[in-house]
């Protein structure tokens, strides 16, 4: 009886803590009136150690105020990840794989202007220490 209550209490506490720690959606300030929403979820990818590549499936939510030819880029890449032409995009799920912050850029291909930015941060549980590496090898 007491065990069950304590377990429920402990579980509730744990869930609360995890929920508090969960990264929220990153909503970027829109640069252009062409877009009303451009966000990514989760906004942070958690890896075990600093420097380790982080893997996640992230969802980009976007709402455009007008039709046109738009493409999504990962900052630093020339090739677009996805393009929309005269359609109303809402969501895009992409595989995230990086050891550092990744910035996503939405561009109007007709005007060649960046209309919005958002990013996924990479965080970690264990910070790698260069000194006494043996002690904290794992």
């Amino acid at each position: 009886m007491y065990f069950s209550r304590l377990l429920i209490l402990a579980s509730a506490l744990l869930i609360t803590t995890l929920a508090n720690a969960s990264p929220e959606s990153a909503t970027a300030p829109t640069i252009s009136p062409e877009i009303s929403k451009f966000s990514v979820l989760p906004a942070t990818c958690i890896t075990l150690r600093k420097g380790r590549k982080c893997f996640a499936t992230v969802t980009i939510n976007l709402t455009l105020t007008q039709m046109g030819h738009y493409c999504l880029y990962q900052q630093g890449n020339i090739r677009p990840m996805h393009c929309w032409q005269n359609v109303a995009p809402k969501k895009l799920r992409i595989a995230f794989e990086s050891a550092k912050k990744v910035v996503y850029i939405l561009k109007n291909e007709t005007s060649q202007k960046v209309i919005a930015l958002t990013s996924v941060e990479v965080s970690w549980v264990h910070k790698t220490s260069s000194r006494k590496r043996r002690w904290r090898i794992f």
């Binding site: 209490l9 402990a10 958690i46 890896t47 075990l48 982080c54 043996r134 002690w135």
Partner: protein, 278 residues
């Protein structure tokens, strides 16, 4: 009950402390470093005694405190990658090189057992068990050689247990662990080998004339070995929480299992839990 209360208290403390600490920033100064992790797990962890059965719910809840402290060349550490680690270790670094080192270690290598307590708490009585003396934990001093790369750790301990057991109690403990990654998982595969001198095996498995009875004849044990294989995984849930799970299979040589005391030859230990990293 007590374990759960402790777990609850620690979780509450963790929540409070989380607001105060920057994530896992363990370096307070160049000389002093620390790290603390708390684990609450569901586990199946039978003792080496065949007669001691896991019957209560609390026997399947494990609470672990992983404290690592380092001041200059002195340290206290827990081997969190051997799921069946007995206790923390204190030590002193004698030699520290880029990928190897030698330490002086003080730790426990064999968990003890109290036959009287086992007989008292078990419904199934084993004749003669209550007459056996208590076996203390096997603690001692060791010289440890370590080889380490980014993903590999190998340790070789030469330990003397004379302080807690008989005069000629010594052992050699070898352990190799390899880390590999799959997506956000860290997977540790490990294999261990331990050689126990006859005095150690005899202390735990032997039966002296004073302890002997009709069902527990006198038993003089030879030296023995333990072999263990382990696979262990860690997965990050947030900046402070990780999920941990692992299974360890242990084999003891017949010098242990032939004992009338009733020691298991094969032990499977498994657990899944959550760790909070300060």
């Amino acid at each position: 009950m007590r374990r759960l209360l402790i777990a609850l208290f620690l979780l509450l403390s963790a929540n409070y402390a989380a607001a105060e600490h920057v994530n896992d920033e363990m370096t307070n100064s160049d000389d002093f470093q620390w790290q603390l992790m708390i684990e609450v797990a569901l586990e199946y962890n039978p003792t080496i005694l065949e007669t001691a059965e896991l019957d209560g719910f609390y026997n399947f809840i494990g609470v672990g405190l992983y404290l690592d402290l380092s001041y200059k060349d002195f340290f206290i550490q827990t081997n969190r990658h051997r799921t069946n680690t007995l206790a923390g270790e204190f030590g002193y670094r004698l030699v520290e090189q880029h990928d190897w080192g030698i330490d002086l270690i003080g730790t426990f290598y064999f968990i003890g057992f109290d036959p009287e307590a086992i007989d008292r708490y078990n419904d199934k009585k084993t004749p003669g068990v209550a007459k056996l003396d208590e076996r203390n934990p096997g603690g001692g001093l060791a010289l440890r050689y370590s080889y380490f790369t980014e993903d590999v750790l190998f340790t070789a301990d030469l330990a003397s247990l004379q302080g807690s057991l008989d005069n000629n109690s010594w052992l050699i403990d070898l352990y190799y662990s390899h880390r590999s990654g799959y997506k956000n998982w860290d997977v540790y595969s490990g294999i261990g080998f331990t050689y126990y001198s006859a005095d150690i095996v005899n202390y735990y498995a032997g039966i002296t004339p004073d302890e002997s009875s009709e069902n527990m004849p006198v038993y003089q044990a030879d030296d023995g070995i333990k072999v263990e294989a382990q696979i262990f995984g860690l997965y990050p849930l947030s900046k402070n929480w990780t999920f941990s799970t692992g299974i360890t299979q242990t084999y003891y040589s017949s010098s242990f299992s032939d004992s009338p005391v009733g020691l298991r030859q094969h032990i499977t230990m498994a657990k899944a839990g959550l760790r909070y990293v300060f």
